[in-house]
């Protein structure tokens, strides 16, 4: 008994517009569209559709749309259609449900419950069109000693730091989970923007070593692609302890996405699922983490900052405090909305906490312990706009990772089917015919546009607050007010309610 499951979305074709040019058929890797030679008309099979909107976008006569199906089981406040269907699917297959991208459930989004301040009368707003408005910053430790040479000049005793022209980095997305062209787009955009992209745990393709000074390389539990040249090529090294989309488990890359090229870059066999271990098997405790941090520093001659990335979980403030004392230069925290190329659905949708709350608590805890200067904080998962960016910095972040937003800039339509490896947009796929749809010359420019636009908006909002350096916004929580929040939420976020004055 393999129960038929009605598709969630239906392909609707306006027959009066369709010219049967068959472009939808050629563009759909899921084989939804076909040409019926007998009738001379196009047909579509909605059961195969993932709602990626590729056909809608390429249809020259705009004859296509995708609508939510109005088919429904008997309406039930407890058992939604999706919940019922997932039971049927698991009863059919006996398998773990897989999903991609970030948690889509309707949990509160705290970014949308915070409002930003602006200057009126008593101090002037600053006009970024006419005055300098600094978004440049440095990431890393700031715990230098004040030492002087014989002439009394200060000596630089700072640990290595990363210089950024804007408080934005592209977050970790591995080659394998996304395509060669997507990686090239990210790398070139990072170089042009004076920021960084992150290899994820998939190693660094040999063609991209030239972007090393804008590259953060990841060392994850699978150690895919990690060797001396890889570490040496990078501007910084990130130890991935966890990921917001799937806290507590390792990375998943389905064998279908492990092409010859991916296999070579990752140093693993072709075509076999790459599942990284849940823990690093040399890190079962905080003191073990310290050893890996210093192993990597030793291996690279103490010339590069080391980032430790964790998923936002209940005890992240205490964990971050431990990391700040472990020799790490930067802590990256990934919220439960963070994206992924593949994760068990139940974990993606139920494990971890919102990044807003995690960030507020980590920043406050590090300050209470007087160790905020030991580390910079990068947050991600998910930063959706420059407004989220401003709020994150005001809560205490040094900079933000963007992943999903960067993929959207490359054409992603959030169909959340990356794990199937048939991305019609040429992003989350390794099929050469699909990869070539993403032109890196266009893709990198769109990423540059996105970050440039956000940086302009950041400057506008900073100017409105009378702040002309992003460093004076960091942790400046009086610039935020809560709306629609409980007392507990306000106290966790460390902000006042809208209408409460300074």
């Amino acid at each position: 008994m393999n129960l038929y499951i009605q598709p969630e979305y239906e392909v609707v074709r306006d027959e009066s517009r369709c010219i049967a040019c068959r472009v939808c058929e050629r563009q759909c890797a899921n084989l939804v569209h076909s040409f019926d030679a007998e009738t001379g008309k196009m047909k579509s099979d909605s059961t195969l559709c993932v709602n990626c909107h590729r056909c809608v976008c390429v249809c020259p006569t705009h004859a296509l749309k995708i609508v939510k199906s109005d088919d429904t089981y008997k309406v039930n406040g407890n058992w939604s259609n999706q919940t019922i269907n997932e039971v049927y699917r698991q009863a059919n297959s006996g398998g773990v449900l897989l999903s991609s991208m970030g948690n889509p459930k309707e949990y509160p989004v705290f970014w949308d419950k915070m409002l930003i301040n602006a200057s009126q009368v008593t101090n002037p707003p600053i006009d970024p069109l006419r005055e300098p408005m600094e978004t440049k910053l440095w990431l890393g430790k700031r715990t230098a000693q004040v030492k002087r040479d014989k002439k009394g000049k200060l000596i630089n005793t700072l640990a290595p730091q990363l210089e950024l022209k804007a408080p934005i980095l592209f977050s970790a997305m591995s080659y394998g989970s996304i395509s060669y062209n997507a990686h090239e787009s990210l790398a070139r955009a990072a170089e042009e923007l004076g920021i960084y992209y992150n290899t994820g745990e998939g190693g660094l393709h040999k063609d991209f070593y030239k972007y090393g000074k804008n590259t953060i390389v990841q060392v994850a539990s699978g150690r895919f692609g990690v060797y001396k040249d890889y570490l040496d090529a990078a501007a910084a090294i990130e130890i991935k302890m966890g990921q917001g989309a799937k806290p507590g488990i390792g990375g998943h890359l389905p064998g279908t996405k492990i092409s010859a090229d991916v296999s070579e870059t990752r140093m693993i066999p072709q075509g076999i699922d790459a599942i990284s271990p849940a823990p690093h098997h040399d890190i079962y405790s905080i003191e073990d983490l310290r050893q890996l941090v210093y192993s990597l520093k030793e291996a690279t001659d103490y010339k590069k900052p080391v980032i430790v990335k964790i998923a936002a979980v209940h005890n992240c403030a205490a964990i971050a405090s431990g990391i700040a004392r472990s020799g790490a230069d930067i802590i990256a925290i990934d919220g439960y909305r963070g994206g992924t190329g593949a994760a068990p659905t139940r974990i993606r949708d139920n494990v971890g906490i919102p990044i807003e709350l995690a960030l507020a608590q980590v920043d406050e805890r590090l300050r209470e312990e007087g160790i905020r200067d030991e580390v910079s904080i990068i947050v991600g998962g998910s930063i959706r706009s420059s407004a989220d960016l401003v709020k994150a910095i005001a809560l205490g972040a040094d900079a933000c990772y963007i992943g999903t937003a960067a993929l959207l800039a490359l054409g992603c339509h959030l169909c959340r089917t990356c794990h199937e490896g048939k991305c019609n947009w040429g992003i989350a796929t390794q099929r050469p015919d699909l990869v070539k749809r993403l032109n890196p010359d266009v893709g990198y420019k769109r990423l540059v546009n996105l970050v440039t636009a956000w940086n302009h908006e950041l400057q506008e909002m900073m100017g409105g607050m009378g702040i002309n350096s992003v460093e004076a916004l960091r942790g400046n929580r009086l610039m935020l007010r809560g709306i629609g929040l409980t007392d507990t939420e306000l106290s966790v976020l460390g902000i006042k309610y809208a209408g409460q004055s300074m």
Partner: protein, 366 residues
């Protein structure tokens, strides 16, 4: 109910003025009263104050504590505390003159003290840190008592009222110092608490400030990591702590401190010579959270000198002048011309440019 100062954030607009005779010759406080009175409209009668340097030559080796008390109970409790921690060389009520417009004054007392040597040794603290912590304990732990000045051979005099009235109230024409600063306040909240007036002091540092900084909470949350507690929630308080931290605790020079607080823009730094570029870049990389943005102009008083500093966009005015050995700093040129009609030189420093005037012989006043 109106909250007391310190229970809410209190930004304010203001007037500032300062004077120093670099030869060390002492002047009465009269000149400052005249200077600040010209800028009457920059205050609103909710706060005025003065700091005088070199005013206590006979007690120059003692910390001069100036205190406000709400009543005799707070005074008795404070005196018991001071007696446990210091040798009190001399104490008296600070002499004042009744002025119709100055009302609701607290009890105002002065104590010349030196730490008890045994207590100091047991504390394992540097003497100055010991004094700061004792002053903070009075302010935080004894209700109705407030230490508003605790430096050596200097004193702060402040209250609620227009600054010229406050100056007459404290009979400042009877004091003589080699340097003075003063402040007229235009707060945008109305607490009417004497301790909330300015200058704000910490040891021999005193700060008068005009402006409303936008970086306040970033600065506050950072500086509180190092044991400071911003109880008054004013810009002046946090700026004083930043200066104390960078100069006294970290050992930066005043010039370097200025490059942290009012750092040049990265684009400006890029155009400087190699050495300046490296030094200023390093300071910005070491202390980014102590950059102060938004409008401010301050005059810092310290033993042997005055420094003025404005924000890097110069959103608040500051004028400097010199006449012989005497140097003047003020929000408006008129405040200088009032007491020095024909200066040798008048100029307006650039945004973020510190102006430092020190005694030719700083050792003479130590």
């Amino acid at each position: 109910m109106l909250l007391r100062e310190g229970q809410f954030r209190n930004p304010s607009g203001c007037a500032v003025s300062g004077i120093i005779d670099r030869s060390g010759k002492r002047m009465s406080g009269e000149c400052m009263i005249r200077s600040i009175s010209v800028m009457h409209d920059r205050s609103n009668g909710l706060g005025g104050g003065f700091a005088g340097y070199g005013i206590y030559p006979h007690y120059k080796d003692f910390y001069a504590f100036h205190l406000f008390f709400d009543g005799k109970g707070a005074q008795a409790e404070t005196e018991a505390f001071l007696g446990r921690h210091f040798e009190i060389a001399y104490s008296s009520q600070i002499q004042t003159r009744k002025i119709p417009s100055v009302t609701d004054e607290p009890l105002i007392w002065r104590y010349f003290v030196t730490p008890l040597s045994r207590k100091l040794a047991d504390s394992h603290l540097d003497e100055r840190e010991y004094v700061v912590r004792c002053a903070n304990r009075v302010n935080v732990q004894i209700a109705g008592a407030y230490v508003f000045s605790c430096g050596k051979n200097m004193g702060i005099f402040k209250g609620v009222g227009f600054p010229e009235d406050i100056g007459r109230f404290y009979r400042l024409e009877e004091y003589e110092g080699y340097a003075w600063t003063c402040h007229g306040r235009y707060p945008t909240n109305t607490p009417g608490w004497w301790g909330g007036a300015h200058p704000f002091g910490l040891l021999d540092f005193s700060v008068v400030h005009n402006g409303e900084i936008s970086s306040y909470d970033a600065n506050r949350r950072y500086i509180e990591m190092f044991g400071y507690k911003c109880t008054l929630q004013t810009d002046t308080e946090v700026i004083t702590y930043i200066i104390d931290y960078l100069v006294r605790k970290r050992g930066l020079t005043l010039q370097e401190t200025a490059h942290v607080i009012a750092a040049s823009f990265w684009s400006t730094i890029a155009d400087k010579d190699k050495e300046s570029r490296e030094q200023e870049t390093l300071l910005r990389r070491m202390f980014p959270s102590l950059l102060v943005t938004g409008p401010f102009s301050i005059i810092l008083g310290y033993t042997g000198g005055l420094m003025s500093l404005g924000d890097r966009l110069k959103l608040r005015s500051m004028v400097c002048a010199e006449k012989g050995d005497v140097a003047y700093l003020a929000s408006e040129e008129s405040a200088i011309r009032e007491i020095c009609p024909q200066p040798d030189k008048v100029y307006a420093p650039a945004g973020g440019e510190p102006v430092i005037y020190e005694l030719y012989d700083k050792e003479a006043v130590r």
